[in-house]
Point group: C2
């Protein structure tokens, strides 16, 4: 397994991504962009990129903020992430830059791309889908489902899988229902899995509930959603 | 593969089930009750029982009405099914009889049981869970989610997986939301998968939309939900 820093740019911002792939495999493989939580490209997203590489994919952990910036304080993260998300064109462009980089890599089959993301990263993935990015699929794990630019009919090319913690205080039921309406009207290929007894950040082992009770790891929902993603990729990447 | 008629009784009603298992395998295996649609134990449920047997399980297609009664007309089916469902104690007992029969079979590991069902059969499976039946799990495919006897806290022993067509006219969103509330309050282990572009009876290849547009097969959602069930069984039957 090879992991390395992978730099790319978005409109003058230097982005510091994390690339993982099996260097012993020859030939082009599907490429997956992994967008992280609002804390920046950290341990959890990098770990997921490595696990995707172990599954045979080329995975790029995307840098949302530039220069690999990370935050440990939630309020700091919300401030910077909020500013980025406030401008939907910039927000989408930031994720598109990662997709473009991935597609340009010699190991990657540019006709077989996907994006996944955690929390804000899930929203990145969904915004790529709404934007009509040329992806086979997107997967959101506890990602926010709201958007300033709802998908229009026929616009979504990617198949969409949303893994949602049913008790996530940041993504209440009306938001899920609105997303379902949006995707249905857009005639997207979509699935939403709701996991009971599950709150925000359920995939992150470091979320121990101390930051707030609504942000907590759930090993079972993590395992179930990872398997759902794995099967989804087998479906969408079948030639 | 061996398939055979399997008779059992429920309070004086003679039930004519359909048993499927691999007779070349020795040793006890998990047992799965398959409850059919309101048309009675027919082709689709029997086919599923055989497919479960191919996966290594002992599967019993349950007879909901007695003497293997089947209906081809929807109104006839609704009349008889409606009468049975109107009495929740009788309805639950009818499914329990299938579980008891399954548990008594020499091929079955009675500590590893599950129930699945289609349409009304999904409701049968969920009512078993609400009733605290000793099952590892239940799976409902386009099953009605309403109940006269909501589950109480701690009552549900089975893990619950609901596979739901998002456009199912018989199971509108408020019914799904009420189910989620019920399961959450009951502290059950539950998951709901909503499939976009999918209506009622999405697993049944004979549902061609001619009976009503809201009853129609969807090959993709059928395949996805079957795989979700398969993974669920691997999880719940792991020793």
């Amino acid at each position: 397994m090879k992991t390395e820093t992978c730099t790319y740019t978005d409109a003058g911002t230097n982005l510091k991504g994390f690339l993982a792939y099996d260097e012993k495999v020859s030939g082009k493989r599907p490429g997956i962009l992994v967008m992280p939580e609002a804390f920046g490209l950290g341990k959890n997203a990098k770990n997921r990129a490595q696990r995707l590489a172990e599954l045979g994919y080329v995975a790029l952990g995307g840098d949302p903020f530039g220069d690999g910036k990370e935050f440990s304080d939630l309020q700091d993260a919300i401030k910077v992430a909020g500013a980025l998300m406030a401008d939907p064109a910039k927000f989408r462009a930031r994720a598109r830059a990662g997709i473009d980089k991935l597609a340009s890599l010699p190991q990657v089959d540019a006709t077989r791309l996907a994006a996944i993301g955690y929390c804000m990263g899930g929203t990145f993935a969904l915004e790529l889908a709404r934007d009509g990015a040329p992806l086979r699929g997107v997967v959101s794990f506890h990602g926010g489902l709201q958007t300033q630019r709802p998908a229009q009919a026929g616009q979504v090319k990617a198949k969409v899988l949303v893994c949602h913690g049913s008790d996530d205080p940041m993504i209440p039921t009306p938001q899920v229902n609105a997303f379902v309406d949006e995707m249905t009207k857009a005639k997207a290929d979509w699935q939403v899995i709701a996991y009971g007894n599950t709150v925000h950040s359920f995939t992150n082992p470091d979320a121990d509930g101390s930051m707030m009770p609504g942000i907590k790891f759930n090993a079972q929902s993590d395992a179930r959603s990872w398997l759902a993603m794995k099967n989804f990729f087998e479906e969408i990447f079948a030639k």
